[in-house]
């Protein structure tokens, strides 16, 4: 992919005095939804603020679709950023807030009005648009910030905990909106601590801990590379003991345990692909009748737990 379509971190470090923000970050992010995941203080917001020039790297360089981050006049024609700062210029309605900053972008009044209306519709805030932002609920403030980030139709959207404060219905609508943006070829960089939502919407994840990137890529790819944690698979079948004997002869199977109800087998394997081939053969040879096969720890929560050592967050 051409470099001017990527977000590139080249050996980026950020220190706040002697305190580490992020260290030696090397990343290339392609279009699609990329989630930044990690516990509080891991460096997610620091990375986002570095991407948008709100912070300057102590070392290294960042380019966003070919634009250095110290050129806001070019950068923010392409980039929209929804920060976590829950504060607004005083005295403005939602519509005035969006419109004013579109005018600051340089749009003429007519175009700014059009873009304001589109953004308000996208976040379902048309009815509340003419009320003061100060009177908005937390969820509405979150949505107006999102509207401000998308109003100028950027190609790169950076969203710091964009689902915070949203009710379940609006969360689902917002995730659908993100998917639509990704399908249109936009970059979406999203930080979240709600792992199952990240799992649902992300094309790839970047796991951060203590300022370092501990893993990045497609979540299943990351999981596959964790050889020290064999993949756990639960097979519901009619003859689990027979299947256990059948699979346990393989080197890559490190554990096979019959389920308490005698209707399932719990397997740990270092090579999930070979295990699935083996299982297919067993079924084809009529050794067992399989009802279902489900990986137990092939998701973000498990990866997070293995790499970072906690269970992450939940909604």
């Amino acid at each position: 992919m051409p470099l001017d379509q990527l977000i590139i971190f080249d050996n980026v470090s950020k220190f706040y005095g002697e305190i580490l923000g992020v260290n030696r970050v090397n990343l290339q992010i392609a279009p699609g939804i990329t989630s930044l995941v990690g516990p509080n203080g891991a460096g997610k917001s620091t990375l986002m603020n570095l991407m948008t020039g709100l912070l300057r790297p102590t070392r290294g360089a960042i380019t966003i679709v070919g634009i250095p981050t110290d050129q806001p006049e070019r950068l923010f024609r392409k980039v929209g950023y929804c920060t976590q700062f829950d504060s607004f210029p005083r005295g403005l309605t939602g519509r005035e807030f969006l419109n004013s900053f579109l005018l600051v972008h340089g749009f003429d009044r007519k175009r700014a009005n059009e873009l304001t209306q589109v953004a308000l519709e996208r976040v379902n805030l048309v009815e509340a648009a003419d009320r003061k932002v100060a009177a908005y609920s937390k969820g509405m403030r979150q949505r107006i910030r999102l509207a401000q980030a998308i109003a100028h139709e950027p190609a790169v959207l950076i969203l710091d905990e964009p689902l915070n404060g949203l009710d379940p219905m609006v969360r689902a609508e917002t995730i659908a909106l993100f998917r639509k943006f990704a399908a249109e070829g936009l970059h979406l960089i999203i930080s979240s601590h709600i792992l199952h939502e990240v799992d649902m919407m992300s094309d790839r994840v970047v796991l951060l801990n203590n300022g370092y990137i501990v893993a990045e890529g497609n979540i299943h790819g990351v999981r596959d590379e964790m050889e020290e944690h064999p993949m756990q698979i639960l097979i519901r079948c009619d003859q689990p003991a027979k299947l256990a004997a059948y699979v346990f002869a393989q080197n890559h199977v490190v554990e096979a345990r019959v389920h308490d109800d005698r209707k399932g087998l719990f397997v740990k394997t270092r090579d999930a692909d070979r295990f699935y081939l083996l299982l297919n053969r067993a079924v084809a040879e009529g050794e067992v009748n399989v009802e279902s096969v489900a990986p137990v720890d092939d998701d973000l929560s498990a990866v997070y737990q293995y790499l970072i050592g906690t269970t992450g967050g939940s909604a």
């Binding site: 706040y16 603020n49 948008t52 020039g53 709100l54 912070l55 300057r56 110290d70 806001p72 006049e73 070019r74 950068l75 923010f76 024609r77 929209g80 950023y81 920060t83 700062f85 504060s87 607004f88 210029p89 005083r90 005295g91 004013s100 900053f101 005018l103 600051v104 972008h105 340089g106 749009f107 003429d108 175009r111 401000q148 980030a149 100028h152 139709e153």
Partner: protein, 288 residues
């Protein structure tokens, strides 16, 4: 079409580049800021500062104590010169400009809303210019009004018909315009200084008070040091010179053709410094 006015079409939008874009952006920033300056929560103090000299003049106009009536209208020129130098210029314009211009950036850092400007496709230098102009227009409107109204309040209630002639046919009009001009120049100079102070220093009150002391002690300074101040150049321009007391070190006033360009040049340099600072400013509200 020159590159400066090149028009780029993207989807259905029309975007300008170069100066036309910057002027439009300055206009948008100016509008946002001027509303805050005049109608925001912080504007109340500015109004109080601006009417400060008018209140005693109004009281004197209504209740002129017996035995204090001035017999000669010309004495009012001297009274106003003292009032202008001591109260309007050194207090109202100084502290009013400090409050307006320091809050242009510092206020937004305190409110945690500066990042919205930083996340717009606008050069940060353009942001400095837009904000500075908004502060300048605010301070000029308020403090030249104070300057003019204070003069009228001093003269008109006591010598109405003479005062009318003084302001329409005599020296009054040129005096009032000169004082208004000095007020504008003070807003320009102090404004740039306080804008920069608000950008560099977390608690700008201390440098403001230091400058205030320096400006007040200006009459004691040797001639060379006097020139490192705003008040020296402004005092050089006032139409009625007043005594600075027995301890004053006398220095030649700087001619207007040097004083005015010098102040504008220094202002420009200070604004360039502000632009450099804002270009490198990080948003870390926690540390602000």
């Amino acid at each position: 079409m020159s590159s400066a006015t090149e028009v780029v079409s993207r989807k259905s939008e029309t975007r300008l580049l170069g100066w036309p874009l910057w002027l439009r952006q300055i206009g948008a920033i100016f509008k946002l800021e001027i509303e805050k300056n005049f109608l925001g929560r912080r504007s109340l103090l500015i109004y109080l500062i601006a009417i400060l000299p008018l209140f005693p003049l109004f009281v004197l106009a209504v209740f002129n104590p017996p035995g204090t009536r001035v017999k000669d209208i010309n004495e009012y020129s001297m009274i106003y010169a003292f009032l202008y130098n001591g109260l309007i210029l050194r207090t109202v314009v100084f502290f009013g400009s400090a409050w307006i211009f320091m809050n242009l950036f510092r206020g937004e850092l305190v409110d945690r809303s500066l990042h919205y400007y930083f996340l717009s496709a606008v050069r940060r230098e353009v942001l400095v210019v837009g904000k500075y102009f908004s502060g300048l227009v605010t301070s000029i409107i308020l403090f030249t009004s104070t300057t003019v109204i204070a003069m009228l309040l001093l003269y008109l209630p006591h010598f109405y018909s003479q005062s009318l002639r003084y302001f329409t046919e005599g020296r009054g009009l040129s005096q009032i315009l000169t004082y208004a001009g000095i007020t504008i120049l003070a807003c320009i100079g102090y404004g740039a200084f306080f804008l920069v102070v608000g950008l560099f220093i977390r608690n700008p009150i201390i440098p403001a008070l230091l400058l205030y002391g320096w400006e007040w002690l200006n009459f004691l300074l040797p001639p060379l040091l006097k020139k490192i101040s705003v008040i020296h150049y402004l005092n050089s321009l006032v139409p009625v010179q007043i005594s600075q007391g027995p301890f004053a070190v006398i220095a030649e006033p700087t001619p207007a053709w040097i004083a005015v360009p010098s102040m504008l040049l220094v202002t420009l340099v200070v604004l360039v410094l502000a632009a450099y600072r804002i270009r490198h400013l990080e948003i870390r509200y926690g540390s602000d």
